[in-house]
Amino acid sequence: MRVETGIKNFDDNIEGGFPEHSAILLKGPIGIGKTTFCNQFIYQGLKQNEASIYILFNARADDIKKSMKRFGWEIEGKIIIFVDVYSWQSGELITDKYTIINPADLNEFNIKIFKAINELQDKNLKRCCIDALSTLFVYIPPDLALKFVSSLFAKLKAIKITSLITIEKDVLDPKTVAVLESLTDGMVELNYDPIKMTQRLIRVDRMKDTKHPLTWMKFGIGDNGIMVV
């Protein structure tokens, strides 16, 4: 059972999709399309009437919905909970029960994620996206953040969710990235072509239980989302 990403020509390269119940890291520089990749992955699940949890560090839920609408991905009426770790910065009064008031408070964060999971558990909860996990490390000491992440991934695996986690390239030190990699089942890398700077590239660095090419592939973002060439 593979979990389709919905990314044209990408699933074919990874035996149909991500391995079931895996945690996959998506690494890349700012602006390359990590969020779009996540949106496409989430939409693929919602399309199949799976419920999802989307943890946002760098945008509001409304921004994501607008972005998805532009690609023709309508998620109104679909079962998805957005855990907002972005709006706290604006200083406005927060009354939504899934908005994090303080990203440094792991207790609050943990309790709210668990509430979201409990809410969706009997509603076919299959996918989770965290965009971008690296932002968490701005507010929490790395050792503590890694402990939290480790316990979170273990929980997600236990309840049989397939997760996609993005990290911004160069925000984290190599040691932290190495530990994060060891906590996940695979890593996909996005980058700009060093020679032709406008060309975006994607590569599967590793993925457990999967036969995949190791080479960089070209991709672009069109009207219908990300397309691998």
């Binding site: 303080n102 408070d105 503590l144």
Partner: protein
């Protein structure tokens, strides 16, 4: 000398309360709201005229005050040692604060300790200190943290302060946790457990049984998911449910309960859902349904009608009352022809009989408290 935590059952479990000038560790799992729990204790101390110092490493002082305000807790004169605002790019208001984000953890720890010690020395008469919380610094090593905590004990002795440290166990090694525990005088565990799809918080000390709690509008209260009220027809069960509850609903027709009563109780220190059964025999089949998974039983009898006592005991048996904690409400004690309590105890041949009057709201809270004491038996 023992000082009260403001949570009666916790004081009982700790044999009177926390020893003054000592250090306590609240060791919590990742799903308990440990900060709110300790804020209840802090509030109780402030109400007892102690002044407090709150060292915070992840929650902002503004949010802590907001939380304490929403729960109706007292926070006057509270001084913060603010180690988080600068990380969140906010200007700290407290005199004792990290002025900028320190990226190297050992340095941040050192600075925090400096501020902590300075605050203790400056603020005379501040008797209670909260350290919320230790996991922020676990990266410098459990050994180092334990050393510093032990050293601080001397300072607590000199300044006559009691300190409560908080720590969430994010999966640390057993030895690491042991080192931290050995650096304090008392360790209380806070945890969460799932029982039949219900998530329940508990606190636990030493080898004593877990005490379940919920944090509500009235602060930390002992929590029991379900209490059953039963007894013969017309003994005053529905009246008791309504008198005890904040909100109660009864399914009754033509003056008698035909299905159930349901109420929710949230009184000082006690939180529970209470279910009342019908008393008429034709509804005895409901007793089994309603008595499932109940944690305690209140048997209500009419003090003016001893002829119903036999039926009362049968009903108690039907709801498996003898296997779980129960108390008996000898109701209608306000009526002229009510049999005296001692006589009722004799006739029923059962212990724990409390005299009540549901209509006059007398004896009800004492009776409920007695039941809770039996459910959460500590000795």
């Amino acid at each position: 000398m023992k000082i009260s935590t403001g949570i009666e059952k916790l004081d009982e479990v700790l044999d009177g309360g926390v020893k003054s000038n000592s250090s306590v560790l609240l060791l919590a799992d990742s799903l308990v709201d440990k900060s709110s729990f300790v804020q209840h204790i802090l509030s109780a101390r402030i109400l007892d005229n102690d002044k407090g110092i709150y060292i915070t490493t992840s929650k902002t002082p503004t949010n802590i005050i907001k939380n304490m305000y929403e729960y109706g807790w007292e926070y006057k004169h509270l001084v913060f040692v603010d180690c988080i605002s600068s990380t969140l790019k906010e200007k700290p208001k407290s005199k004792y604060a990290l002025k900028r984000k320190i990226t190297k953890l050992p340095e941040a720890f050192e600075e925090t300790l400096k501020l902590f010690k300075q605050a203790l020395k400056d603020l005379k008469g501040f008797k209670i200190v909260i350290f919320d919380s230790l996991e922020t610094f676990m990266g410098v090593g459990a050994e180092n943290i334990a050393e510093e905590m032990k050293e601080l004990k001397h300072l607590f002795d000199d300044t006559k302060t009691t300190c409560i440290f908080l720590l969430t166990d994010w999966g640390y090694e057993k030895q690491e946790i042991k080192k931290i525990c050995n650096a304090v005088d008392t360790v209380v565990n806070l945890g969460t457990v799932e029982k039949k799809l219900l998530w329940m918080n508990y606190f636990q000390f030493d080898e004593l049984p877990r005490i379940f709690f919920q944090i509500t509008q009235t602060g930390v209260g002992l929590y029991v998911p379900k209490i059953l009220i039963t007894g013969p027809f017309h003994s005053g069960k529905s009246s008791t449910v309504h008198a005890l509850s904040e909100k109660a609903v009864s399914v009754d027709r033509l003056g008698t309960t035909i299905a159930l009563d349901h109420g929710y109780i949230e009184k000082k220190g006690i939180v529970c859902d209470i279910f009342g059964t019908p008393g008429q025999e034709r509804f005895d089949w409901i007793l089994k349904i309603l008595s499932r998974d109940t944690w305690g039983v209140i048997l209500v009898v009419d003090s003016t009608r001893p002829e119903t006592f036999k039926r009362a005991k049968e009903m108690l048996k039907e709801v498996k009352g003898y296997e779980i904690p129960f108390v008996i409400f000898a109701n209608k004690q306000d009526l002229g022809n009510a049999i005296k309590l001692e006589e009722i105890k004799k006739r029923l041949g059962l212990p724990d009989v409390v005299g009540t009057s549901a209509t006059k709201n007398e004896g009800l809270e004492e009776g409920l408290k007695l039941l809770f004491d039996k459910i959460f038996k500590v000795k």
